[in-house]
């Protein structure tokens, strides 16, 4: 049923723009030099439309030559104007098929399809820039099930759906720690300005301006910093709303399908088989609201880091057991944790108090108001105590649950069959107290993930090791 065919003509626009962009990017320095010359600038006006026509012609040609089809159990694409390329991808190598729609595509009721395999970097192996929505859905189904004859399957009719409520979205946005990201983006932009216009001396200007203010009134600086933070926070708020607006999750058969995005709708489909572990994060800012965020550790490389692995961005904690039971029963287990032995508390306290104390001592010496830093060790002690209280584990029906806190509280649920290797270690102090650290390595797309719990009773660690060793 899938004979060689082209994508929707709207793709011409994308091909053309992409070519202009890539060429422009490569020739930017040359272009700037050229524009600076008086004689060349004369030619610019007549040359522009000619160039534009050439680019559009190239885009049309590219579109004409861009053909995809399915042959046997392979997706095949043939493309290229001067250099003709053919790319064949066997179905079983395809990891994810992602459907998204930008503003332009939406105007025409079209979508973009990205096909990814396990290899390679961030970029999708293969992008179909514009396809009608139903055709894209059909293609996605063929590629993922490997069935060329499509019949509506029964189990796809019944599904469970979760939507992100507006209240949750707003809470998510206002507590997202994108603040730091946006702030650093500010600095990157400013330093980039410096690279592009060396004569501008941005930092010097900023510095002298700040100095000017400082000689004026100190409250102005504080106000400026506050405004900067506020602006950064608002931007991150907006970013989160755009990214997660309209979030909905659906379990159909053996996969979870996530749709999200306010302007550019994205659809990600995660096969349950690829999920290695479920991670429940209770951030410092979100814990008081009783909200948790649910993430997955998986071995497909969809999306950029941090957004591709969100299973559900914000969920009331009370709903979590029901959520896991319905959406991912493979990972659902009772949440009764065993805590750590009392003799492990000391280590948690010391690990926080000592660094805080060192910083406090330095601050007290070198800063005028430094003695306030003496509060740091107290905070450290409080944090250490909280870390100790929150740490815990559980092993029930072949699932291991480990919970710990650095700042936010993180709970991992790992099926025993997903554990790649298990480590129990003891330093001399722990050996004296019969304590140990438990570490578990699981596979994930980028770097291997390890989950650890410090200060477990050595007998309990050995018990888990025995459980793990018997009957694989």
């Amino acid at each position: 049923m899938y004979n060689p065919q082209r994508v929707h003509p709207l793709a011409i626009l994308e091909f053309t723009l992409r070519k202009i962009y890539s060429l422009g990017q490569a020739l930017l320095p040359l272009l700037i030099i050229a524009i600076a010359q008086q004689e060349i600038r004369k030619w610019l006006l007549p040359a522009t439309p000619i160039l534009l026509v050439l680019f559009v012609a190239y885009g049309i040609l590219y579109w004409l030559r861009y053909v995809f089809y399915i042959s046997g159990q392979e997706l095949r694409v043939e493309y290229g104007v001067l250099v003709r390329k053919k790319r064949y991808i066997p179905f079983e190598r395809i990891q994810t098929v992602q459907i998204s729609a930008g503003i332009l595509q939406r105007l025409f009721g079209l979508v973009k399809v990205q096909v990814e395999t396990a290899g390679g970097g961030r970029k999708a192996e293969f992008v179909l820039a514009a396809l009608p929505r139903d055709r894209a859905a059909e293609l996605q189904k063929i590629l993922q099930t490997g069935e060329t004859h499509l019949e509506a399957r029964e189990d796809e009719k019944e599904y469970i759906e979760y939507k992100l409520s507006t209240r949750s979205l707003l809470l998510l946005a206002s507590t997202s720690n994108g603040i730091g990201v946006v702030l650093s983006a500010f600095f990157v932009i400013i330093s980039q300005l410096n690279d592009f216009f060396p004569n501008l001396d941005v930092w010097e200007k900023v510095g002298s301006y700040a100095g000017h203010l400082a000689t004026g009134r100190i409250s102005l600086i504080i106000l400026a910093i506050f405004l900067l933070f506020l602006l950064a926070w608002l931007l991150s708020l907006l970013g989160t709303i755009i990214q997660f607006g309209g979030f909905q999750l659906r379990r159909t058969g053996d996969r979870i399908i996530i749709k999200r995005g306010l302007f550019e709708q994205q659809q990600v489909s995660i096969p349950i088989k690829r999920i290695q572990a479920i991670k429940v994060v209770e951030g410092l800012l979100r814990q008081p609201w009783g909200m948790v965020s649910v993430q997955v550790v998986s071995i497909s490389n969809t999306g950029t880091k941090g957004e591709g692995n969100v299973l559900f961005p914000l969920l009331p904690k009370a709903e979590l057991p029901a959520f896991l039971g319905q959406v991912a029963p493979e990972f659902s287990m009772p949440w009764e944790l065993q805590g750590l032995p009392a003799r492990a508390r000391r280590r948690y306290l010391l690990a926080n108090i000592i660094p805080a104390l060192i910083i406090a001592i330095f601050c007290a010496f070198y800063w005028p108001w430094g003695y306030i830093a003496i509060l740091l060790p107290v905070l450290g002690a409080a944090l250490g105590n909280k870390q100790y209280n929150d740490a815990g584990y559980q092993m029930v029906d072949n699932k291991l649950l480990l919970r710990s806190r650095s700042l936010g509280r993180v709970t991992m649920i790992i099926p025993r069959r997903r554990i790649q290797s298990l480590h129990v270690s003891q330093n001399p102090f722990q050996a004296r107290n019969d304590l140990s650290n438990l570490r578990v390595a699981i596979a994930s797309s980028n770097t291997p993930t390890t989950v650890r719990l410090k200060g477990m009773d050595i007998q309990k660690s050995r018990g888990i090791m025995n459980c793990f060793a018997n009957t694989h």
């Binding site: 997903r418 390595a441 694989h472």
Partner: protein, 159 residues
């Protein structure tokens, strides 16, 4: 309770580590000497010379004299049909368990220095990183590699 693994690595590992640490110390000594000469020439601070020399000496004593013997005495491994069991670490004792069905591939490696001692190391890779058994006799390493590779061939569908 599970017993600790019992197999030891090859005793020649001790001299191999001593040689390897000796060569590294030699390089470090060269750096100290280089700094000393530069210091004479350009009148850089002299105390750095002593610090460098001291650090090099401390490293040499630890890595040539102390560490190889302790490491050898504390390393244990065991390979059964079900899993690979490692126990090592001088200060921090770590026990590692790798189920055979999780093993993706197994390599033997041999650098020029290892070759002089007739030793190889075996490294076992899972989907979440690799683990090494250092310094086994060539024949033992080859046998172990083949054995693990056969045992690991039991196909497991979920990664």
């Amino acid at each position: 309770m599970r017993n600790n693994p019992q197999q030891r690595i090859n005793a020649k590992a001790v001299s191999y580590w001593r040689w390897s640490a000796g060569i590294k110390s030699g390089f470090l000594l060269l750096i100290s000497a280089g700094y000393h000469m530069a210091q004479q020439h350009w009148h850089w601070p002299a105390w750095i010379s002593f610090v460098l020399l001291g650090l090099t000496l401390a490293y040499a004593i630890y890595a040539i004299i102390l560490k190889p013997d302790i490491t050898w005495r504390t390393w244990r491994y065991n390979v059964s049909e079900q899993e690979i069991d490692l126990l090592h670490g001088v200060f921090i004792r770590t026990r590692t368990l790798i189920p055979m069905v999780r093993v993706q591939h197994v390599d033997t490696e041999q650098g020029p220095l290892l070759r002089r001692f007739g030793l190889s190391s075996v490294s076992i890779s899972t989907a979440a990183g690799s683990h090494e058994i250092p310094a086994l006799a060539d024949e033992v390493a080859a046998l172990l590699r083949d054995q693990i590779s056969v045992l690991a061939r039991v196909v497991d569908e979920d990664v």
